[in-house]
Each structure stands twice: as C-alpha cells, then as structure tokens.
C-alpha cells in the first residue's frame, strides 16, 4: 500500500508492504542511502535516523509505524543548527576510518546535543553506546562531540 511520510521536510510517498522497515524505504524506494544497513536487528546503530527528533533504528521500524511523525536522515540533519555543527566537527577532527557507521554516529550525536547541549562524558557514553564502530574511531567520535558542543577546541588533546 502507499504510505506518505515527511522526510527531511519533504512529503514523500512509498508504495510498499507495511512491514517494510523504514531503512529500506529510505534506501531503495526513496533513494536516500545515507542511513546504513549493518545488522537488521537494532544492534549496531548504523541505520539511526530521527523520528520527531528522537533517534531510532530504522532497520527495525516498520513503515506502518511512522504515521504522521517526521523523519530526519543524515541527508537532512545538516539543515538543523546542531546537525551542521556535528558534521563540521566530524570533518574538523577527521573522525572516519572506513566511514560506514558515521552517518548513524552523527545522527545519535545530533540527538544527544539537541537534548543536552553540554553533555558529560557519561552522557556521551550512554547516548553513543548503541552505535558500533568496527574501526573503533571512538576516541575521535567523543572528541568531535565535545568540539561540536563547544566543550573543547579542535587542536586540544582529548
């Protein structure tokens, strides 16, 4: 059946089965491939997108559950002030190695900073613990979040 949803401020329509996870609607139907497939079971966070500003795992969220809520993906997060800051910090710190998980990391970090503009280390660990990075870029992720939050400068040793 046809579902209408708001993605990054645009109305989009997808004619798919209701059990189709949002991730595959985004990637295959709408052509937004920024959210990544990593596990299909909400174990790795690579597919993280925002639903009404809250981070969710798109790989286990059926399209039928979206209803009138608005979806924000990595392709759209830069339009929010927090998202833009996070993306800039990611580049300034040169966080990625392979880069595959980083869209999900940025989405989780953006949700954290929107809720807690000055997070503690414990806040960061808690908010980011569902996002795996197989290259283990965690040190730089944490640093980039602190830079985006204005807690540390780019050149400062973590």
């Amino acid at each position: 059946m046809a579902f209408t949803l708001t993605v990054n401020g645009e109305r989009r329509t997808a004619d798919v089965d209701g059990d189709t996870p949002l991730l595959w609607v985004l990637r295959d139907t709408l052509g937004l491939v920024g959210a990544k497939f990593g596990c299909g079971a909400a174990l790795c966070g690579a597919c993280t997108v925002h639903l009404d500003g809250q981070p969710i795992r798109a790989c286990v969220t059926p399209i039928s559950d979206i209803g009138g809520k608005t979806v924000t993906t990595i392709e759209g997060i830069g339009k929010t002030p927090v998202g833009a800051k996070v993306q800039d910090a990611w580049k300034a710190i040169d966080v990625p190695q392979c880069g595959y998980c980083q869209a999900g990391q940025i989405m989780s970090a953006s949700a954290l900073l929107a809720a807690k503009p000055k997070p503690t280390d414990a806040d960061i660990d808690e908010a980011m613990n569902g996002n795996l990075c197989r290259c283990a870029t965690y040190t730089r992720i944490k640093k980039a979040i602190k830079v985006a939050a204005g807690l540390e400068a780019v050149g400062e040793k973590a």
Partner: protein, 724 residues
C-alpha cells in the same frame, strides 16, 4: 550525488595508447576519462591537470578505512610539487596492467609504493619542466618548481602547471630511475597530517560505499546458501518466493565446490532488497548432506586435546637440543594456550553490483583484491578477463574479509541470468555465517630457565588445521618466529586436523593469534624467573642484532623491538604504583614489517574488567607518511584487538556457524573503549604499513595486565567471564 564513481557510474579511464613499463610503474600512458572537464590533460595514468592547475590524482589501492586513498596520493603530490589543497583524489579502476598490485592487504601498500609513487609524481614534474624548457628555449636544469608552477629564476618567467600540461603529455617520460627525489627535509606534504577522503560524502550521507550503488533499472538480489558450507540444493519450491510482492524471479544456482567462488544456492531477485529478503525467507530449501556437517567446535576441542598429548605430526624447526636443555634447566614452565575462530564482520555487509550485457561484465565492488575476483568471475562466467570491468568502491571496512571475492562472483553469476543490473546484499547473519574465518588454534608451550632466569629452551607444539603437509589458509605459523633464533634450544612442532570451513586472512593474519600466545607465555616466564616483565623481555631480546637474513620478511631486529619496548614503558610510566585490583601488562610483537609494543592498564572489580588505558609504541621506519591516519590505524588496531580478546569467537555446530550477529559476536562499544596513546619511534628503515602490526601485541598486553591485577592467568580467548 557526491562521491566520484557513484556520481557517474559510467565514468572510467579509457586507455588510448601506450604500453606498460616494467615493475608496475606506469608512466607512459595517455588516458582520458569519460566526462572529464574539457581541457583537462591526463599526463599519465595517475595524474590529470586542469587548465586552472588543479590536479586529480588516482589512488590505485582499494580504500577500506586504512586511509590509503589519502596517503598514496600524498606521495605523488609531494614529488609533483603541488599544494595538497589543489589535489582531488579519484579512485583508480581495477587494472593490474596499468597499476600493478592493487591489493589492500598485508599492510604492504606503503612499503611497496613509497618509492615508486614518488617517482610517478617526480616524472610528471619533470615533464612539466621539459615542456617549459622547450617553450622558453632554456635548459631544463635551469628551471625549478614552486607548488603548481614552473619557474625560470634567471628571467623571472613562470608558468602554471595547467598551462604546460598539454605539452607535457606529448613528451616521452623520463626513466623513473633517473629522477632525483626530494630530500625528506624538504617535504611539504609527506609527514603532515591530511584528512580522510570522501569526508563530505561520509558526513552528509551521499552515496559512498558499494552498498549505496544505484543504477537505472537495477534490481536487488539475495542469495541463500546452505548453513553447511558447500552443500547442494536437494529440493526447493520457488513458488512462495515468487508470490512475494516485488519479487521478480527466483532460481537455483548450481555453484561449485570452490568455497572462494560461488557455491550452490538459491537467488531471489526483486525490485527492493526487502522484497528479495522476504522472498528468501519464504523459501523452504532442502539441502543435500555434506561431510562438513560432522564438524563442530566441540569436536575440534576434543581432537586438539588428543593431538596435544600425542607426538607431533611434524617438527618444522629444531635448533640445539631442547630436551637436553630442559633436563638441565633450573626451572621449567609449561602452559597451553588457545584461541577461537573469528569472523571479520566489517560494518558494511558483503555486497556487490553487477551487470552482464552483450558479453561484457561490469562490476562495482567493495573489494580488497579485485584481480583475484576478476579471475574467479572470468572462470565462473566463462568470459575473457578483459571483458570484465571492475570499479573499486570504497569499502565499509575490510579487515581481510574482502580479500576474498565470493560475493563478487555471486553477483556476477546472478546478474548473468537477469536482464538488468543487480545489487546483491547479504544479511549480517550471512556475513558471519559465511566468512573465511581466522582459524582457531592450540599451542602447548614448555620452556626452561637457567639459574639466572634466562630462557635456555623453548618448544611449542602447535595444533592447527590442515591435511598432511599443507595448512588451511592462514593456519600455518612461521617456525622461526621470535624467540626463534634467539633461544639456542628451540623447537617448533605441528599437528593438524582437517577442516571443512573456509579460513582466511583477518587483520594481521596468524600474528593476531601468535602475538597473544607467545607474549602471554613470555609473561609467565618473566613471572617464573622473578623478573619485571619489561626487564625480562629486554634480556630475551639481548644485544641489538638482526635475526635471519637481511631483507627477508621473517627477519627480526632485536634492537628495533627494544626501541619500542622502552618507549612504551616510558610512555606508560611502567613500574609505577597502581591501586589494588589494577594492573599494567606489556607485550611486543613484530608483524607486517612493523615493531610494536603495547602497555595496557586494566582494573578488575568484582570480576568486571575495565580497560583504563593503552599505550602503543610503533616503529614503522624512518617516515610516517600521514600522522593523523597513522594514529587512527594504531588506535583502531589496538581497540579492535581489545574487543576481540574480550568477547569474540565463532562457534560451529553440525557443520554450521551458530554465531550470527552482533548480539553473540560483540564489538567493543564506546563506553568500553579506553584512550590509546600512540607514539612513533623513527628508525633508519624504509617506511612500512600500519593497518595491522599494532593488533598482535594487544591481546597479550591485556591478559598480562589482568594477571597483574588479579593473579589469574588467562590462556584462552575470548576472556569472556573467566574472571567473574
């Protein structure tokens, strides 16, 4: 869409004329890229110059997160003499006739390319100088360059590279050996930190990875293989899959017996991957019986225990007289170490996009080893290798998994039966359950110490996989590995058992396990000798000297290892007082031409392990090409090894992997990841790679720290709840 090849999938370099020169160093090609901006000049296979002097540099080796797409073009840019800000990097297409070795493996790219790619840059610079010399009718040796500009100081004439490139491309390239390379003191780019490529695309979600490929009319595929490796399809009803909305087709693929190519299975083709997956779930496949079904992890454990008690099948190294030395030793120590099978689990599941049309095969692959894939595809489709085009797409991690191209062959074979481009994507479960595993292994050590605590005898009965005199892939061990050749009485024994599962290369193959067992056992010897673990290792290393032949990969320099050992001790404040329940552990190991020592501080409270901090000292030669990327590789390797040592193992039952996803194959998470301090110890040796060598010492440093913290010696990985 951002992201080079994905922006325009038809874009590729087209060979126009010229012939390859020896050694894989190509200087004499004239090439154009379809769709390149008008007026750009392809000076050679690596360098294109735009009229505004902006330069595009091809990166030959696949990018898998090791940062090679930054560091190799840096080598060219340095000698070409351009500003890095004027450089755009483009991934080269797979073509060994043009580019030579294009393998992301063995941490070898820096080692093999450090000289040659600088000569590529120097060659283009020489051509630009020649072009200016001809234009101005002056001697070439009266000209110099500033970044992007040829300068004639005497007449104050200047010409930007962009003005000269078209003339330069018509000239005959100089003999690469005749070129004088820069004095390293004059480096402007090498040795400075430069950022990862594709940062914009990665941080904004633009198509970047193989799994992001989208082509007009593309369909999606899943491929169901037997849980038991290589079992054939006995029967299947395809109708339920075909009834799923969006499914276009489903068919049996006969496959073969080579586990590195395509094995038997059932393909489902659909208009979205989710539909293809639902179709696959709807299939009720009966698999034929297969002998590997008799194999299990428990069976391997039992067999290894039997073999450990029996005389070894073979003795591969036997220096001095180990038995006599053990009899005469003041103290003997025996210990048995073991480690599990490991999956690679790169974050991006295996995938590949392929189109077969008019006898041509076009492939977009996240692969570490494209030419091997080309050969397999050519054989599977019975086409000439030259009919296959392979685009190298950035890999969402590799760790050695994508040295194998089974998924590439699957995509090509499936696409050959579909009149559209096809993207094949595996599930995570398929990825973990159809891997080329780091082989499990068992080591039975005995060593003898004399009255002064020096090691006088060392023997290792290694139980591994293989048949007769051959080992399963990556299951053999260098029989002279340190302390071989340093201990006078030294024996390396081996026994093997057959294995039906495929094994392969995981980050620092072999060494990722041998570092653990050798450096874990070494720590036990230090303890038995009543010596500080760093002091004991220094004594084992002895005077600075090369063990083995110069230039051989298995040669080992004790002085270089001593250098990093001392540096790691200094960085970590080795010997300082730590609270009760906290311990420092050290380990050092040589692999992939790199010498690395790691110290770990860990705390154990009520059985729960916290890794507080890690320090890594690294000797990768006289020059770190990209310090930022180098730090990332070392930090990533150390944390990868910590996660693996704490948690990971793949279990087999009835011929199938039962481990399936990140719930039972956990990766380290942020809250568990300690800070990793990295320092480089420069030595007067050729620069070498960093994707791997910091991994092997880390698991041993961790278990040695846990021993220091608790007095409990861990001899079997994963650590799991052994301290609980």
């Amino acid at each position: 869409m951002d992201g080079e090849i994905l922006r325009d999938p038809t874009r590729r370099f087209v060979l126009q004329s010229g012939a390859a020169v020896g050694g894989g160093l190509l200087l004499s090609f004239t090439m154009t890229a379809e769709g390149q901006a008008a007026g750009d000049t392809q000076v050679n296979a690596y360098v294109r110059v735009a009229p505004d002097s902006k330069v595009t540099i091809a990166s030959k080796v696949p990018e898998v997160g090791q940062g090679i797409k930054t560091s190799l073009p840096m080598l060219i840019a340095e000698e070409l003499d351009v500003d890095w800000s004027a450089v755009t990097v483009e991934q080269a297409i797979a073509d060994s006739k043009i580019y030579g070795r294009q393998v992301a493996g063995g941490s070898m790219a820096t080692t093999l390319e450090y000289d040659g790619l600088r000569r590529v840059g120097a060659s283009v610079r020489a051509l630009l100088i020649q072009a200016a010399a001809a234009r101005w009718s002056v001697a070439a040796d009266s000209l110099t360059t500033e970044p992007g500009v040829v300068v004639h100081a005497a007449s104050k004439r200047r010409a930007a590279y962009g003005e000269l490139a078209a003339d330069a491309a018509k000239l005959t390239p100089p003999d690469p050996k005749s070129l004088t390379l820069k004095d390293p003191k004059a480096f402007r780019i090498i040795g400075q930190s430069h950022k990862s490529q594709n940062l914009d695309a990665i941080t904004t979600g633009a198509p970047t990875f193989g799994i992001d490929m989208r082509l007009p009319g593309m369909l999606y595929a899943t491929f169901a293989k037997a849980p038991t490796y290589g079992a054939k399809v006995a029967s299947v009803d395809l109708a339920p899959a075909k009834a799923v909305k969006g499914v276009k087709d489903a068919f049996v693929v006969e496959g073969g017996t080579n586990l590195q190519s395509i094995v038997p299975g059932v393909a489902v083709i659909a208009d979205s991957w989710w539909a293809a997956r639902k179709g696959r779930e709807a299939l009720d496949i009966k698999w034929a019986e297969h002998p590997t079904a008799a194999q299990s992890s428990k069976g391997f454990e039992t067999k290894a225990a039997e073999l450990s008690k029996a005389p070894p099948h073979r003795t591969l190294q036997n220096d001095g007289d180990v038995d006599a030395a053990l009899k005469g030793a003041a103290k003997t120590v025996s210990a048995a170490y073991s480690y599990p099978f490991l999956a690679h689990a790169p974050m991006e599941p295996q995938n590949c996009t392929a189109q077969v049309k008019d006898g041509k095969v076009e492939i977009w692959a996240p692969t570490q080893n494209p030419e091997s894939g080309r050969a397999l595809v050519a054989k599977a489709l019975n086409v000439d290798p030259s009919a296959i085009t392979i685009h190298l797409i950035r890999c969402g991690g590799g760790f050695g998994r994508r040295l194998m191209n089974d998924y590439m062959v699957e995509a090509a074979v499936i696409a050959s039966k579909v009149a559209a481009p096809v993207k094949l994507v595996w599930t995570r479960e398929e990825d973990i359950q159809h891997d080329f595993y780091r082989p499990a292994g068992w080591h039975n050590f005995t060593a003898g110490l004399d009255a002064s605590g020096a090691v006088v005898a060392w023997k290792n009965h290694f139980i591994t996989f293989g048949e007769g005199e051959s080992f399963s892939l990556a299951a053999g061990m260098n029989s002279t590995q340190f302390p071989g050749r340093a201990v006078a009485n030294y024996r390396h024994d081996v026994s093997v058992m057959p294995l039906g599962f495929p094994t392969g290369f995981l980050r620092a193959p072999g060494n990722n396990a041998f570092g653990f067992v050798i450096q874990g056992f070494t720590d036990e010897l230090a303890h038995a000798a009543g010596k500080d673990p760093v002091v004991f290792r220094r004594e084992m290393l002895g005077a600075p000297r090369l063990l083995g032949e110069p230039g051989k990969g298995d040669s080992f320099h004790t002085g270089r290892m001593r250098g990093v050992l001392d540096l790691a001790a200094e960085m970590s404040g080795w010997g300082r007082k730590v609270p009760k329940g906290t311990g420092l552990g050290v380990a050092c190991h040589y692999s992939h031409l790199g010498y690395v020592a790691v110290v770990i501080q860990a705390t154990v409270k009520e059985g729960a392990i916290k890794v507080d901090k890690a320090w890594a000292a690294v000797d990768c030669g006289r020059q770190v090409v990209n310090p930022s990327g180098a730090e990332q590789q070392v930090q990533g390797s150390v944390l990868d090894a910590i996660g693996s040592a704490l948690y990971q193992g793949v279990t087999f039952e009835n011929g199938a992997a039962v481990t399936s996803n990140f719930a039972d194959f956990p990766l380290l998470r942020m809250a568990e990841a300690p800070p990793v301090e990295v320092r480089f110890k420069l030595s007067d040796n050729n620069p070498t790679g960093l994707g791997e060598p910091a991994y092997p010492p880390t698991p041993a440093a961790l278990v040695n720290a846990l021993f220091a913290a608790t007095g409990k010696r861990i001899r079997s990985l994963p650590i799991g709840d052994q301290l609980a």
